[in-house]
Symmetry: C2
Subunit: 347 residues, 2 copies
Amino acid sequence: VDELLERVRQGNGRAIARLITQVENSVEVAGRAASALHAYSGDAHLVGITGPPGCGKSTLVNEVAKRIHDSGKRVGIIAVDPSSPFTGGALLGDRVRMADISTREGIFVRSMASRGTLGGLAAATSAVTKILDAAGFEMIIVETIGAGQAEVDIASIAHTILVIEAPGSGDGVQSIKAGILEIADILVVNKADRPGVENSVRALEAMLQFSRTSYSQNEPDSDHHSIGLTDDELMTVADDASLASGWAVPVLQTIAVDGTGIDKLVAVINEHLAFLRQSGEWQRREFERSRREIERLVEYRILSQLREAVSEDQRDALVTAVARRELDPYTAADALFNLARNGIDRE
Amino acid sequence: VDELLERVRQGNGRAIARLITQVENSVEVAGRAASALHAYSGDAHLVGITGPPGCGKSTLVNEVAKRIHDSGKRVGIIAVDPSSPFTGGALLGDRVRMADISTREGIFVRSMASRGTLGGLAAATSAVTKILDAAGFEMIIVETIGAGQAEVDIASIAHTILVIEAPGSGDGVQSIKAGILEIADILVVNKADRPGVENSVRALEAMLQFSRTSYSQNEPDSDHHSIGLTDDELMTVADDASLASGWAVPVLQTIAVDGTGIDKLVAVINEHLAFLRQSGEWQRREFERSRREIERLVEYRILSQLREAVSEDQRDALVTAVARRELDPYTAADALFNLARNGIDRE
């Protein structure tokens, strides 16, 4: 592995692909790689791109990646599908669409799906990001398909978060989850040659307005800032900080298929990078990213310990008693917790 | 609270509404209520209904609830929006649409959103389900909006899971997440008077076929059955069992707005209930539900302890070192874990 890590740091494409596969298959390798590469990471600009299916996300990612690459930077693209591979159509389609750019020297494309990733997709994505970062890619685009909580988690890995929408979808902008809107740095209405584009832009601007107003009335409690935060709480912290940060979220229009608006979009992405650097927001986001990564690791360790400390029979007996209504779940959870604690103590 | 619990058990609508609000606002009340009511729960048929926005879910839920109610049963409806209240439009719309049934004696409707629920939406939904169950509702419908991981988690609370689709949406059936397809007991193509309905039905049947085939080739590891499972692993267990269970997932067509196909749908829901009872699948699902509930509680307890055991300064120092690349995240996680363990031991 050490030799592989060395070749990864030199930017060798095949070594990178091999290490990513190993990281997906082994929590141990993931840990070793992340520990070893961490010190060499931290320079890449991480751009998260998400939005509902059919909004033209992949074409847009392609166009952005090409322009960034043309400007002399190396670009990594991680396409993440939080659903399992059974509806892999979208992802396969992406791969085909990406074929024209993935052969370029200096562009690395990787698709990831839920299955075959140990320790969760967000953790795996974070590890792959770190690998590309340490390998010297200047921009890493994390593209997620769909718009659920998983996308919010994955997008939250990024420094700059783009949310893409297309006009005239059945439910208008309802297809954008509020959770993701609140963490967006840049909103893009793609397919802007379609009817209804003005409505979409207006609706997004109204939602932005509304969400900012609501937040300023809801100060998070101070204990939200301690360890062991739920995703919901983390979101509140992020929103709160973004409010204070002074970046006005723009709503841009693009037509990715013919390149309209992409130069402007790339300029705004670079503006956001400059803003992050100047405002201290970059350091703040790195702190948040590090906190989440550490929390994920601690949680994983605790759950692994729990698994080891409590036998299957002990657990099944408690669960059966609860299912039969002989015991309530709180008493059962207490019993399990104490079993686990004793197990960890003995270790 | 004790008096309130007593009135809840008698089925008093206002007491139920009050207790639910208290449960949403206080983890302690939630624990007390769930402990006290657990022994009185376990009789209700829990029906999870999910699907993408715009598929006519709420109208369908209304129609199903009316028919069940007409047959002499009490019906509870919990409408859950895993996104935050900012895009609450859909949810508000649902409330209006539901107005005509929620005034019926014996129908209870409650909307829940992410914010204002402590300990996670799945936990809160589970607690509300238990309250309605103990209050004597024979069927409880949990309707979720959207189709992400949160919906999968929430739907997995149910005995019978319906996934709704509408024909002719831009991306066909891609809007159904595979994760949810795999836990579906009944698939419904609503708005079946629209063009493209045959394509949707065929596509769903093909996806079902494909997902069953893939699973039989992927036996889950035996250690997937121990405690501390990730959602992904739990899903695998559920799929595996559903494969073995002998229920052939039907694809039904409905037009909820004019009632077409609803009688048939209600009959199939009742058939599934009979199947659950006869096959032993009911007990198995109760076991799974109990296991998840206990695991959620144990996890919550561990994270709370972590929060108490480690000071904010200790944590922030570690996170800052990681963000500055002075320390790698694995070493930091080890340090936090040990701090937490010592804290728990001292307790």
